[in-house]
Amino acid sequence: MKKILVLFSHPKFEKSRANTALVNHIKDMEGVTFHDLYERYPDFHIDVPAEKELLTKHDVIIWHHPFYWYSCPPLMKQWIDMVLEFGWAYGPNGNALQNKTCLNVITTGGSREVYCSEGSNSFTIRQFLRPFEQTANLCGMSYLPPFAVMETHKLSDDNLNKNAIQYGNLITLLKDNLTNNDCKGFSFINDIHKLNTP
């Protein structure tokens, strides 16, 4: 069974309806370490050795965050800048994360439709996530398509709950070793067969 590390970054978690629902559903699952970065490092002073140790102990790294301005909140960027060190995560002998699995779990206000070349945001989610994808690649991790909960402002409580359950199912699949093969042809991991067959 694979161990899952959820690196959660939300500067105002207490005000986020969508993320509260998602997090509550998965944070106490067996084999999941829920790591609340804004609560742990409110002053942005990241304990790099502790973070590295945490990474080493897990097989799947999830970057769970709201999709602010087509990217992640600042503390998560800070985390990437500081923890993924040269000579450890990448570069010569930088193979600490080799063969781990990595993906983004994001919440967006916009719908899938606005994230395309014809839509108001001009680019797809996957395109916006390129920096994360390449970060994972450089560190030798296999990068899976994102799990995205979109149009959060319009989402009914029922639908939000469905998404949360799906997030939970995704984590169960990840524990059993979900690979890129299972995701072939899908831009969102939400859509893969394994998650949608009853």
């Binding site: 105002k12 978690f13 207490e14 005000k15 804004y38 409110p42 002053d43 602010y68 402002h153």
Partner: protein, 629 residues
């Protein structure tokens, strides 16, 4: 010539003003000025004051009582308790040692053993008035020397109770006669057995503590409510008079009682009010006391046997000095602190007047013996400031902590010079952090123990009073970039700020302050960099409390930053408002009003809800509205 009270008042006041201002002009302690004034107006020089000098002395002892009350106000009960070992240890060694040696001296000189014993008791006691006044004047109260002196003096205040209880046992006449003869000293306890005496003393101490909490403080609150300023003065005097009366009634030194009363009230909100009310009166009374000591020096007695008196005087001072030096040594004081202690307490104190006349009343001492000892006491008190000056000007500079020790400085430290005033808890943290960045501050401090330690650690340290321009100059103020005032004494910071603004305006000042009122004053003196010591710590604590209650840490962090900014803004806004009341009580009340205003404003402005960043709620509402339209 001495009949009119008005005339006497004029003589005393004029004498004080003339002599003290001359003494101060010469850089001497005010005590010398007062003593000299006393000698001049006394019966043997100008003769303005006759033999009533001793009555005045008795009256003026009230200054000592007030002084101890004020000292008590500055010592919180907890600190007093922490000092118990020093008080018992140092005091015990000093009194015991001095009594033993002087008993031997007077026995060798051929005095009867009872006489020798009484005299040695009187000799063991030092002058609280002279020693504490000098220490306060030189602002040395928080040095090792200051606390040591204070502990010894306090022990003496306690031990004198037992001496007064013991002396009647030596009496040559039967009890009835002595009581009759000495009715002025009659007190409640004389007629009681020792056990009851102790009980009565303990009871009266408890009474002071209880009354302080449940009687005095409520009374002061009532008085403060009337808003009549002079009622507060009356109340302050009532407290001190009341305690003194009670203490004299049960036979304890009124000074000790007043000290206890002060300690009890040191936690109350009236601390500052009482201090500022009594301070000027205390100084006047003490001045009167010193003048009375000067006036009571009986030059006829001296003229009769100058050699004997001179010899005994020197021997006593030598004995006291040696014992004090050894005491200081046992308690591991630095050499210069030891010398300060040695010379500042090497006199016979005002208690001797009481003990000696008491023993005289009981027929233990003869008239001649008492006169001689009274003269020696007065002379030894007068000599103290002079010996102190010799120590300060000639001995200490050679062996004590030097004002500065030269040390090669690296280039960066030289071109970006930082001067750090005060190396206590606050300053030391600053110094350590600067040093960890390779920035060596030049430190100014007035505790020589600390200075020596810092020099051993390799710091460049100047020893002395940081408000002296010459010391600041030798510490290099001319080429300094920043001066940090880390002292908790607002007067020192204000004085430095004035010097800098006048003479070295290019130097930037960064000042620690205790509270917003000190901050107002410093802001109004044109200082910009004010650091209130409690602001961030208290907010950090509050933040952690809220965090434990489930608030998110990052949000709290941002709110703390908001709060600090908002509070700094309001500080600057309020500093420019004209001050109406300087009076502490009214200020304290105003402070409460202000706090209330702050809280209301916080609530209205909604500091916590003000921060809407990353809050998707309002976006959701906007989306909903759009859908509904």
């Amino acid at each position: 010539m001495t009949g009119s009270i008005l005339f006497e008042a004029i003589v005393f006041l004029a004498g004080a003003i003339i002599c003290v201002s001359i003494a101060k002009r010469l850089g001497l302690s005010s005590v010398i000025g007062y003593l000299l004034a006393g000698v001049l107006i006394g019966p043997y020089v100008l003769g303005f004051i006759g033999n009533e000098g001793e009555d005045i002395l008795h009256f003026a002892e009230f200054g000592v009582v007030m002084m101890l009350f004020l000292i008590g106000l500055e010592i919180e009960p907890k600190n007093f308790w922490n000092m118990r070992k020093t008080i018992l240890g140092m005091g015990g060694i000093q009194v015991g040692g001095t009594m033993l040696l002087s008993y031997i001296l007077f026995s060798v000189l051929g005095f009867e053993w009872k006489v020798a014993l009484v005299i040695s008791m009187a000799v063991a006691l030092s002058s609280t008035a002279i020693a504490m006044q000098t220490i306060k004047e030189k602002r040395l109260m928080d040095t090792t020397f200051g606390t040591s002196s204070f502990s010894i003096l306090l022990f003496q205040d306690i031990i004198v109770i037992f001496m007064l209880g013991f002396i009647p046992l030596l009496s040559n006449v039967d009890g009835n006669a002595s009581a009759e003869k000495h009715s002025e000293h009659t007190n409640l306890l004389e007629s009681l057995p020792i056990g009851f005496q102790t009980l009565a003393i303990i009871l009266s101490v408890v009474l002071i503590i209880v009354a302080g909490r449940y009687l005095i403080v409520p009374m002061l609150r009532k008085v403060a409510k009337t808003g009549v300023r002079e009622l507060l003065i009356a109340a302050a005097f009532l407290i001190v008079f009341g305690i003194s009366f009670l203490m004299e009634y049960v036979g304890i030194s009124p000074a000790l009682g007043a000290f206890l009363g002060g300690v009890v009230l040191s936690n109350s909100e009236f601390k500052h009010e009482l201090e500022s009310t009594l301070e000027p009166f205390k100084n006047l009374f003490l001045g009167l006391f010193f003048m009375a000591v000067g006036a009571s020096i009986n030059f006829i007695v001296i003229a009769k046997s100058p050699l004997t008196i001179g010899g005994i005087l020197i021997a006593i001072i030598a004995i006291k000095a040696v014992v004090l030096f050894i005491t200081g040594h046992i308690f591991k004081l630095k050499l210069d602190q030891k010398l300060l202690l040695t010379f500042s307490l090497a006199q016979i104190g005002e208690f001797a007047f009481v003990l000696l006349s008491f023993a005289f009343g009981l027929n233990i001492l003869s008239q001649d013996q008492m006169d001689m000892m009274l003269v020696i006491t007065a002379l030894s008190m007068s000599l103290t400031p002079i010996i102190g000056i010799i120590n300060e000007r000639f001995i200490l500079p050679k062996i004590g902590t030097k004002e500065s020790v030269k040390r090669p400085m690296d280039h960066i430290a030289k071109s970006h010079k930082i001067i750090l005033v005060g190396f206590g808890h606050f300053g030391s943290t600053i110094g350590r952090f600067l040093r960890s960045h390779g920035v060596e501050a030049t430190i100014l401090d007035h505790d020589s123990n600390r200075v020596d330690f810092l020099r051993k650690m390799g710091f460049e340290v100047y020893y002395g009073d940081a408000t002296r321009l010459d010391l600041l100059e030798s510490a290099g103020i001319a080429e300094a970039k920043i001066i940090i005032c880390a002292t908790n004494k607002i007067e020192v910071s204000k004085a430095i700020s004035k010097i800098v603004k006048e003479k070295y305006p290019h130097v930037e000042l960064m000042i620690r302050t205790k509270n917003r009122y000190d901050a107002y004053e410093l802001l109004n003196l044109g200082n910009e960099n004010i650091y209130r010591e409690s602001l961030e710590t208290s907010l950090t604590l509050a933040k952690d409390v809220l965090s434990k209650m489930g608030f998110r840490k990052y949000t709290l962090n941002r709110q703390v930053q908001n709060f600090i900014k908002y509070d700094e803004d309001s500080l600057r806004r309020l500093a420019s408002e004209p001050k109406r009341e300087d009076n502490y009580i009214f200020r304290a009340r105003k402070e409460l009003e202000q706090q209330e205003k702050f809280l209301n404003e916080d609530f209205k402005r909604g500091i916590v809800e003000f921060d809407n960043h990353w809050d998707s709620e309002h976006i959701r509402k906007a989306v909903d509205n759009k859908q509904n339209q």
